[in-house]
Amino acid sequence: MIGTVAFSQEKGKISSQLLDLINKNRGDFFTVWVYFEDKGPHKAQRLQEIRTSLSKRSVKRRLRHGYKVLVDKYDLPVYKPYVESIKKYAAETRLTSRWLNAVSLEAKGDAIQEIANFPFVRKIEKVKVYGFREPSPPPLVEMITIPPEAAAHFYDYGSSFTQVEQMNVPLLHDMGYKAQGVLICMLDSGFNNLNHQALDHLDILETWDFVNQDAHVFDEEGQMGSGDHGTNTLGAIGGFMPGELIGPAFGASYILGKTENMEWERHMEEDHWIAGAEWADSLGADIISSSLGYRDQFTHGEPNYNSDDMDGETSVVVKGANIAASRGILIVNSAGNEGSAQPPDNTIISPADSPWVLAVGAVNFRGDRVNFSSTGPTADGRIKPDVMAQGSSVYTARPDKSDGYEYVSGTSFSCPLTAGVAALILEMNPSWTNLDIMEALKCTSSRAHDPDNDQGWGIINAFKAAHFPLKSIHAPDCFALQRLENNYIFFNQYVDQLSWDLNPRNDSKVSFYRIYAKSLQGLEPFFVLIGELSNDTFSFTRRGMLEDETFLYKIVSVGKGGEESDPAYARW
């Protein structure tokens, strides 16, 4: 029996939503994340051990990212005795996450309350469930004619020419770059037909099936999963069959993680994604290409996230993605295929909502946004998607035929194309961090001077981004905008509240920030300086908006010598 004292202790640890559910159905099973207070004793000694076992690739990436201390608390594994202690209360333990310092498990309501009694348990939350959005079926596959200029390049791209030409990739291939030496982690629903003639050449270092807990990422008899989607994304990024298909990063090394189960939509996929990202970090991956996303469409009666949760810090998967990005991994994620839904359901999915994740929307081969491509802003007012690439009629490898090819559509395919470009840029600029690559891609995309919530910064340009002169100071991080209601009783006026974080890459080089605004109704058609703030102030308020006024804000960091960084944008 659980005593009153014990219950009061549990009460603060168990989230209110979970507590309500437990009180309603104490005997039911719940899937929860159990977060621990700490990672146990002897941290210094264990960190030293981890330091020596860290993979060379991982060390290299972290040094590039400017790590002063190579390992930190996120590298320590979850303390085993804690896990062992609570294991007996769980019907099933699913995964442990060193980044979240948590274990996901399935247990009855009574058992969860017992688990909460342990002093080392910090909190227990219900695992929210989000659904993987299949790419919307293309209304019409447009057969693309290969233009005559294709012949001017070193490789014969066949039917894949337009999708790489649109990103200006062939120029880099002509220069000899093919993403060699870059390690890309593909997280997907499985990878069939890896013997396909366009995939056969790939340098695949590791594979792991997080759904079925084995090393086989292709479909197996009696196992869950579907590997067709992964074959399509892998073909788009790394396929190589001259005259048919050439992906931007055909010379890269790959690790393939199967984290998605297409047969149902349950909590475990989100857990698997984080496990996959931790695995990628351990192996030293430079880039994660994830054509997955989580928000709604759950099965098994599980609750959905809503658009308000897409703020870059709420979903479990985005927390994992943010930690992965802090390790220096560039995460490229599909923006989502919700664009044709009614607002607010047309916005992006998680983890594309993170400020540290490059969210990729879809255009067709003419460069026009396709209507299924999810739009921004995030719940906290940041512009999304970040960039665009071809996501309609993308030519790639067929999963069911070793010499077959097909056209597929969805932001699932603009994502690997962009990840491939990022790999080329990294090959050319091995000292660049994940944030440098994001900055270069955004600043050189087709709409860099007028980003919006339909197409972000526009279609990427591999050649320009690879040659982008990075400045010594950078725009502030996570520049976001919220429009608040100012109720004067008879009418409302609106207040735009801009906020941003310090960019750690700037150290103390920034002396102040300049904030500009531009009206999109033509009142102030050019950017007008509206404020200058010293660098210990991280928010700015602009008052007196009308509800339907749309403004594009831009902020730049100003260095001690008066030099300006490239701008960051937010729009309402």
Partner: protein, 207 residues
């Protein structure tokens, strides 16, 4: 910018005022009528909960003129002023003033019982309301007018042939939508007053 509807309302208001002045200063009319003049003072509520929280209820004064061409039926012309309140408004708690005043025209039905004279009234009111927000960021100004209806009832208590006390309860709704939001500025009024009977019939009988 002045709305066209406001201009039309101002013109009809002028015509009504002129009609009353002609009636009042017509000697035959005055001789025939029971006329009284007085001053009421009391409390009024603001129905809208947001306005009530910011500005609160308040006091009003109401000078008035009543005349009874018939023994039991009459007319009242009155002005309501005095409601000018300050409050802090909006996210930034800026200083603001709310000012509401208006003119009323009512038909009266009375019943005399010795020195008591209970009455009820129905009519129309033309009210103006202004909200002045002391902020450089405000783009909209509230300075509008609206017709509404008036209903109420009260009691005259005669002290002498020319002097009487009165107590009155009125309800005047005032739902307005100057911009996108509807707000009810109306509510109940409870007033006390003092009146003078100016009827020439009454005065000429004075010795």
């Amino acid at each position: 910018m002045i709305k066209e509807s406001n201009i039309r309302e101002s013109e009809s208001m002028k015509k009504l005022k002129l009609l009353f002045i002609i009636l009042i200063f017509s000697p035959q009319f005055l001789l025939a009528m029971d006329v009284s003049l007085g001053f009421k003072w009391g409390y009024r509520e603001i129905k809208d909960p947001d306005l009530k929280e910011i500005y609160g209820d308040g006091y009003v004064y109401k000078p008035y003129l009543k005349f009874f061409p018939y023994a039991m039926w009459g007319l009242e012309l009155s002005y309501e002023g005095g409601f000018k309140k300050e409050g802090m408004v909006g996210l930034f708690q800026e200083e603001s003033t709310l000012n509401i005043n208006g003119t009323q025209f009512c038909g009266l039905f009375r019943y005399k019982v010795r020195f008591l004279e209970p009455y009820i009234k129905f009519g129309a009111g033309y009210f103006s309301y202004q909200q002045d927000i002391k902020s450089q960021f405000v783009r909209k100004k509230v300075d509008h007018h609206k017709w509404t209806f008036v209903m109420g009832g009260g009691l005259h208590l005669k002290i002498s042939k020319i002097l009487f006390f009165l107590a009155e309860l009125e309800y005047i709704p005032l739902k307005v939508r100057p911009f996108e939001k509807e707000v009810d500025l109306g509510g109940f009024r409870g007033v006390l007053g003092l009146g003078f009977n100016l009827s020439l019939n009454t005065l000429k009988n004075f010795h």
